[in-house]
Symmetry: D2
Subunit: 381 residues, 4 copies
């Protein structure tokens, strides 16, 4: 976007809390426009609302549509230096047609054909991949090939070199999450191209990355690593661990012990094992499991989230919208909009048929600045 100078336009209006409209006032407002200033008293309702009034709106994107568009892009759009990635991003209907899922978050489907590479680069934007289906791509982080399989979560802290290569005979699609809109607003972005070709060593296809071999051991860290980067040194959180943690939590809940968020609702947060804090400085990521036949209590939070259905089916309510959702569907929860989930009904409270929801949000930003607030629906009303 080029920086076009936009004139200030003020209209004197008769409204509660506003000064009486007179020729003198209109003349003053014209002087304001000339001097490039704007009064608070005409803007305060928009700028300083009683509680957050999101510009972003709730919206759902269907996975089968996204998947089809991505496949078609696979036929028409090559991946290479310049475009960098075959990624197609969600554009919230109320954010000016820009590829922003929410005011702070980017969410895209990325698609890579058999044998294709996405070239090496790095950037200050924090990123992750989440795999809702398929397998066969390795993300190479700082020279370390990391396999991607259904259910895996792969964080990519800013300024790490990274590339992708598809080592199979099938195309693969997954989602990318980044803080692009936040860094765009804050103007903190740096970007650097890496080598044009992926090396032979980087083309390896191990079952576990070196990062996982060093870091994916519960409660243990290598003694040799003293200081850390901004984000997690663990480049993949495998589904088998996430699944087991959720199953354990729901089982504890059924046995009457604490641990679940609420009855029938388990949730784990991906964390940086060096700090126990969020996996990325600007992005929180979680996996939620809602047992069959359960409904969660509506919650409002400052900041925004993007969800993807990982498994199961049910309906979700965001503000005044309710949608039925199924595997792969993505939707956004804007700031301070009440959100709740209802899983498919069923005769059993076991894990089978539970609704699994992957979530990411901008919560670490606002918690670091102590601007976070949470309210259950009862308290918020």
């Amino acid at each position: 976007m080029t920086s076009a100078k936009t004139p200030v336009r003020l209209q004197a209006v008769a409204a509660p809390g506003q000064p009486e409209v007179t020729p003198a006032l209109q003349s003053l407002y014209q002087s304001f426009e000339q001097e490039l200033v704007v009064p608070l008293w005409t803007e305060i309702g928009d700028l300083m609302p009683v509680h957050p009034r999101s510009r972003a709106v709730p919206h759902v994107w269907r996975w089968d549509h996204l998947r089809r568009l991505a496949a078609r892009a696979g036929e028409l759009v090559p991946v290479g230096r310049g475009g960098e990635r075959r990624a197609i991003a969600l554009a919230n209907p109320s954010l000016g047609g820009r590829p922003f899922a929410t005011p702070t978050l980017w969410a895209a489907i990325q698609y890579l054909l058999p044998g294709e590479d996405a070239p090496t680069h790095r950037h200050t934007q924090h990123a992750f991949r989440f795999v809702v289906e398929g397998q066969g791509v390795w993300t190479v982080v700082g020279g370390d090939p990391v396999p991607m399989n259904r259910g895996d979560f792969l964080p990519q802290a800013g300024w790490n070199w990274h590339a992708h290569h598809n080592a199979t005979k099938e195309p693969m699609a997954w989602i990318d999450g980044l803080d692009i809109p936040f860094q765009y607003a804050g103007e903190t972005q740096f970007f650097e191209f890496g080598r044009d070709e992926i090396s032979e060593a980087e083309r390896a296809t191990p079952k576990r990355s070196r990062s996982e071999r060093l870091w994916a051991h519960p409660g243990l860290r290598p003694v040799s690593v003293v200081a850390g980067p901004a984000g997690s040194p663990l480049f993949a959180y495998k589904w088998e661990h996430t699944d087991r943690a959720l199953a354990d939590q729901l089982a504890l809940d059924r046995e009457g012990f604490p641990g679940a968020v609420e009855p029938g609702h388990a949730a784990v947060r991906y964390t940086n094992p060096m700090t126990g804090a969020d996996v990325l400085p600007t992005i929180r990521a979680e996996m939620h499991r809602v047992a069959r036949g359960r409904e969660t209590v509506p919650v409002r939070e400052t900041g925004s989230s993007v969800y993807q259905v990982f498994d199961g089916a049910g309906s979700v309510t965001v503000g005044e919208h309710t949608w039925s959702v199924t595997r792969g569907d993505l939707f956004v929860v804007p700031s301070w909009q009440p959100f709740s989930v209802r899983s498919e009904s069923g005769t059993t409270d076991s894990d089978s048929g539970a609704l699994d929801l992957f979530r990411f949000s901008d919560a670490p930003i606002f918690e670091a600045l102590r601007l976070d607030r949470v309210a259950t629906e009862e308290a918020a009303r």
Copy 2:
């Protein structure tokens, strides 16, 4: 701003790194528009630049113009519940005519007539006042009347109740700084009205506030205060302390000892005495003094700043713009634009005639998230 749904508009263009324009591609882009998605490959240059390319532009606002407009508003616009404050904000020429000095910062001149009150309210937006001239207004924070005099800096951490009253026979103008644009983008704002009237006790006009009596003692804190709020418990940083600190620093520099930022350039940062950190969670505030006949080394930083000339005269260079500035003038330094100052020439290197610059910025946000970078001009080029 109401949330109008804006359609996605994509244009297939032949450009480096872009796929060839074909009817099939154009058809695909139409499908993208229908599904509310946007590809990365057409946007990456704007969204992920090699270094920050600020949308905000450098601009200067002249104090005498602002002062005149504020005085005229004093004649036409009452202060009261609803409009809340007679504040007139800088609107960066490239930020859509909105009252945003930079993408994250609000800066306004506020004006209060003799005997006038600005009513009590509170909000999550962090704020401060800085007084370039005049006196006679007390800001009442949580019931504690705090005097405002030339050179004083008054932070106002979010969610503190506050009001203003002018106890003199003269109007008074000062500047307000807030993180309104940042919280607007993040949608984290809460606002609450207080009592409509200022009480008799709040109308007191002490020379020192209770906050200063508790907290304005160097290196000392009351033992009774254990936990603190988000921002500084010290509600005023008096000019006499700031001035002395700057004079001491320049004297040390002349004597050959460390302390100044660079030769002839002293600077102090306002801090929260409970933590030693920035005075507000989202806003950094500093006072700089450049001795006569000095020129500072150009520096680039991520994030943006607003400056006001407090005393003296000189010229400032922001990116490709250079302006002569004098007392009260305000200007903005957008992200990653090189910034330098040249003070008026003179035969003496003493403090008299030095250029004093008040500065505030969004640096604490990006430092908390480890997105801060600084480069001197040589390194940046």
Copy 3:
């Protein structure tokens, strides 16, 4: 120990840096004794040495001896309220006959007969169990039965209720580590008795504790847990994870990738998954694996450590002492004494036959206070 008043006794001696011995000086020293004061100049060499000179001495305790004494105590000494635990502690030869392995650390063998219980209590002293052999005891922490098996590490942060019960037909021995000497010196200890009987629910013998089901998932934490206690919420670190982490680290080392402490020497630290920091506020715990035929570089550190050989055999050098050690043997490394390990020689560099050393130390105390120093032998000499 009762507080017996000990008189001050000063001797005037002729020594470098000491004043000349005269009748007047002797008279002054008598006055010092009467007033209960002591001059620095006679004590400085002891109190303020050029580098730490440990009062504790290196020493080794043999596991088979300890095991035999513990078994005999099992015949003669009941476990119950008052004595609380059948624990027998290492007494460093130079620490006054007190049960202090080092100036800050307690290390004991604990022994529990078939069907026996050790009653519930809690204390501010931080503690852990480490199992070098055997199985069949459950430690009940806050009502949660935690199984103990060979290789498991069980931290017990201060002020948690805990008990032990032996659910098998075999006696079991393990080691307890605590910060008893540190809290004794600092006089920060509180202690409270719990219920006299272990409940039926506490007598359960699950394979995994509830704590492990919530917390032993790599990089994942339950979303429901917001604030934490002083130490780790994970009550057991199972051997299978520790073993795999060490094997992975040595394999990476053999493949030429970073991760190991030095060639052939892998090490993991037990951490609190909520913070990534040490597992207990005052105690660091680690497991080291030295591949066959390797020798580690001598290292000096401030603070003291206790080691137990978990598996394999080799020789260790502490200061001027070298001992051959084998499974179960315990030894101490006092402050600033150089320490190195030599594993048994062998024709293979694989994991089989490696020397596994469990270590605990007081490092978190001195790191929190920034009093930690480390030097490799070359640098230290």
Copy 4:
């Protein structure tokens, strides 16, 4: 103290919670002695008490006695390399005749004759000076001469080079506080001699040190200083600031506003302006003012304190001891002993005649490790 090996000595006794005394048990205990082990069950009462039972005892040292002994030492004991300082330390009656005021704290009177120097050295022990009377000595810290006057507090973080010189015609005495016993117990001490002579530049006698010129401005810090050392960069906290802070706090109390610790009892803590935390990593320092005719509520705390009366007179109660105290008197409050103060009675509640108490303690150690507890007497009983 040399490391003499002390044999373990165990006595089988018939006591509650102890096993029955039999020849077999006595034989077992002999085996324990041979193997250098000690059972928990005979020691638990001493090692793990229900609450801290201090080995140190309350004690008072009279300033006039200390002053007289120091003056006599001035006649007999030279100051120079080797002995380093003419400092005479308080030896708690129950701590083995060692120069330890409490288990963690050293407190000494230091004495310097006209024209004398105490040579430059540095050590890891954290230190401070507090001046109860006199003037004329400058402490040189890292080459920066810092004046010492009545009421001034001069922290000296570990590993700073420092020396003292007396630039007047009068002797001067003050107190030194250090964490010598704590670092002695932890064995973390390093020490280094500096140049033998104080340079001409270091002999300067400015009214304010360079450190004060940079740092003694309330709420302000030099922008140029980014990272800090372990302790405060401010080398002197002048009495005029401390006095004013206390007077302000008592005045607020009289006016009915919060700020004082309790009615009639003001207190300020010396803090590191870079962090707002305690002035030294291991030592807390505070000044308390108790208005005439007031009595403080008894308080127990873990950890120990040393007090010196700075001004006024009154009586203090520590555990079961009560003493009348006056200017310069020093006394210790051991861990968990209830402590209260009663100031001289008077007809006025003004500041004149208030009892001013300087206090230092080991609280930062135990707060860093979350081992701190506080109870008012009512709660503690």
